[in-house]
């Protein structure tokens, strides 16, 4: 057995107020970061051009950067991407001429005196990037609302609210960490956030399910104790699932190539935060609300 935790009972709710306080601070920090530092938006949301280029001969980042200066590309970034002959060139300007990129390529080949292979070119106009950011935010909000409704129907409103607060916590902290580390925020990160939303909800639902089951069994037990028991009973599954998911994600992070790095980083972070929030945010939230104790239902009589 990997985790020998069946015998041991942890008291998760002993310091729950401190944890809620900690999360509040982290949420506030994330907001401050978001509003004052902002996100390093990728071209999906900001508009602009990304070129992944492979050179036949080695050229320094500096040289590429100085050679690009004359094209008036606006804010330009050049960074190594995978190996020392592969670079990512990101710039603000979207060429107004449809053949801008091709012309730039041939003149750059002359300047750097090496053959260039533009392995990937992505150009996103300002109108499209506006639409993409709108669609992204709607997608996150809409899925949270739909889940709230689903949980509300399946459980009680307290559970719905608790799970959504936990989701809000996870999404905010993910955006916060992207702002803090200045990692590029693009469409695949939105996909990651939506997956985190699904995952964190999944985690919360498993614990809530157990709380509901225990509430049905026993209407006398002290609520804090009951919730704590529910967390403990599901703990091994929580850790094992997070563990296996993390295994798969770490594999993507290291072997999936540069393009999937941002996505898998967001997911790894989201799994950790999501697991934390279902234990320390979503569960104590039920304690704080006035949950009904009389779950007047016949206890499952089948073996």
């Amino acid at each position: 057995m990997i985790f020998n935790i069946y015998q041991k009972q942890y008291n998760f709710l002993l310091h729950y107020k401190k944890f809620i306080f900690l999360s509040l601070i982290l949420i506030i920090c994330s907001f401050l970061l978001f509003f004052f530092k902002g996100l390093n938006l990728g071209i999906d949301f900001k508009g602009g051009t990304v070129i992944e280029v492979k050179l036949e001969q080695k050229v320094s980042t500096e040289k590429i950067r100085s050679n690009l200066a004359k094209y008036n590309l606006g804010d330009t970034k050049v960074k190594e991407f995978g190996s020392d002959k592969e670079f990512l060139i990101i710039f603000e300007k979207k060429g107004t001429d449809n053949n801008f990129i091709e012309n730039m390529k041939s003149s750059l080949e002359k300047d750097l005196s090496t053959k260039l292979n533009f392995r990937r070119v992505e150009v996103v106009g300002p109108k499209v990037s506006d639409e993409l950011s709108k669609a992204g935010s709607y997608a996150v909000l809409l899925s949270i609302v739909l889940m709230l409704i689903y949980i509300w129907f399946r459980f009680e409103w307290q559970f719905g609210l608790g799970s959504v607060i936990a989701l809000f916590h996870d999404v905010t902290l993910t955006i916060g960490v992207f702002s803090l580390l200045s990692f590029e925020f693009n469409l695949s990160i939105i996909a990651a956030i939506l997956t985190i939303v699904g995952y964190s909800m999944n985690d919360t639902v498993v614990i809530y399910d157990r709380i509901r089951e225990n509430l049905k069994k026993d209407d006398q037990m002290n609520l804090q104790e009951l919730i704590n028991n529910s967390i403990n009973e599901t703990l091994s599954r929580t850790l094992k699932t997070s563990g296996t998911t993390l295994l798969a994600l770490i594999a993507i992070y290291f072997f999936g190539g540069e393009i999937l790095k941002g996505f898998s980083f967001a997911m790894i972070w989201g799994v950790v935060v999501g697991t934390y929030s279902s234990i320390y945010i979503a569960s104590p939230f039920i304690l704080l609300t006035n949950i009904k104790r009389d779950w007047n239902e016949v206890i499952d009589s089948t073996p």
């Binding site: 070119v121 669609a135 889940m147 699904g198 091994s236 699932t241």
Partner: protein
Amino acid sequence: MLNFSKLKILFISFIVLLGFLFIIPNFFDKDLKYFPSKKLNLGLDLQGGSYLLLEADIKPVVSQKFQLKITDISKKLRSEKISYSNFKTTDKEIIFDVKDTDKNQVIKLLNSSELNISISGNNKEYLVSSNQKSINLEFTQAFFDQVKKNSIEQSLEVIRNRIDQIGTKEPNIISQGNSRILVELPGLKDPSEIKKLIGKTAKLTFRFLANNNKDEFGYENLTGKNKSEKYVVEKKIIISGENLVDAQPGFDNINSSPLVTFKLDSYGAKKFAYFTKNNIGRNLAIVLDNEVVSAPVIRDAITTGNGQISGNFTPAEANNLAILLRSGALPAPLQIIEERSVGPDLGKDSIDKGIISLIVGFVLVVLYMIINYKIFGIFANLSLFLNIVLLISTLSILEATLTLPGIAGIVLTIGMAVDANVLIYERIREEIKIENNNYIAVEAGYKRALTTLLDANITTLISAFVLYFIGTGPIKGFAVTLSIGIITSLFTTYTVGRLFVSVYLKNHKNNYISI
């Protein structure tokens, strides 16, 4: 729960067999005998290719329509002997002045169905209002929508023609929304040629260079291919590209420089013959998208309807021009507002990396499950494997497109399937602690885990659906694999996995089972 009827077992085996049947063609390039021909498609990011999103700029079309409307209105007013003045246009309106005494009659005329054409149902082209002496025609949204729709429909046709002529494999060209065209070109190595072809409106006109004779339509100043050459060209059009029936690249007989030969339809040929006969010695101006391609002197009347355009072309330019002329002009200029191109070698890299990460992730998970749950871990792994088979074969049946995010979705599905197994097995462990009969304990474990399993998977399914309906391109691919994966994983872990366990328990009814 652990009793499976023969029929049920048959059904489960049937589904699994189907899964294998539909996955096999993916491993072969050719179509196989006795196997379905449907295959999983690789997305542009995996096989390389270009994705272009084009938007039509309808402003020129609208202003053209406004000019036509103004001509119609003034004709009508003249025939009714009503005087008018000061025609002006804005983005959405035509404004002009009439005498106060004529106002009511003019409004009545403007509202007649002869001028104000009805578009659909009660929607008319414009709404008439007046203040003081001016009349104001405000064009309706329905009008603009129709202009957009028509120009996109026509453009779609033209773009299809142009791309077909280049001959890339299986291009996907569809309209998106009401002012956009999506072009997907799988396997294309270099999009620059296609972009050159798409960008051009390709409006061809034959006109005269201005001479001293006064021309009632006026003149305009145009430049040649290099901006230094300047021409004064009559606005009056002799014939335009619409009268062309064919255009082919060719070479000059004398100095073998590249040129384009064209053939006119009978109307165009007659008109061309008439104008050339009466204007021998003058310069013709061949104008493409407001640029003078060449301005040859008319030496003879051209009566055959055949002609040629030369203009210092390279062979490739001549070929492109011929394609453009053959496939017709775009009603509105198209702008590339989004482009994503991936070279084929990068695509291959991405597949390799995606597959490696998939295998590494899978191996790690498989080991983890066996260490944790022993023989039950093997059942879980078998059902995981079947899950991937069913997932990929379902995607093949749908002929879905597998993208990089799609692979991420598959990896995530493995995670979800593992979670389902963990949920069930942990529950069985709990039940075994309080129940001596293995059979009853395992059955209870499956039963109790089901609600949790459903709640957990339905919530994930909700976010996958939202992603599918709101997301675009690559995100959609992720959503598709995720939602199909959730469904197949529920089937393989809960049903197929349970079948394995039930067979195992039949042989180990009373022994100690290690889980």
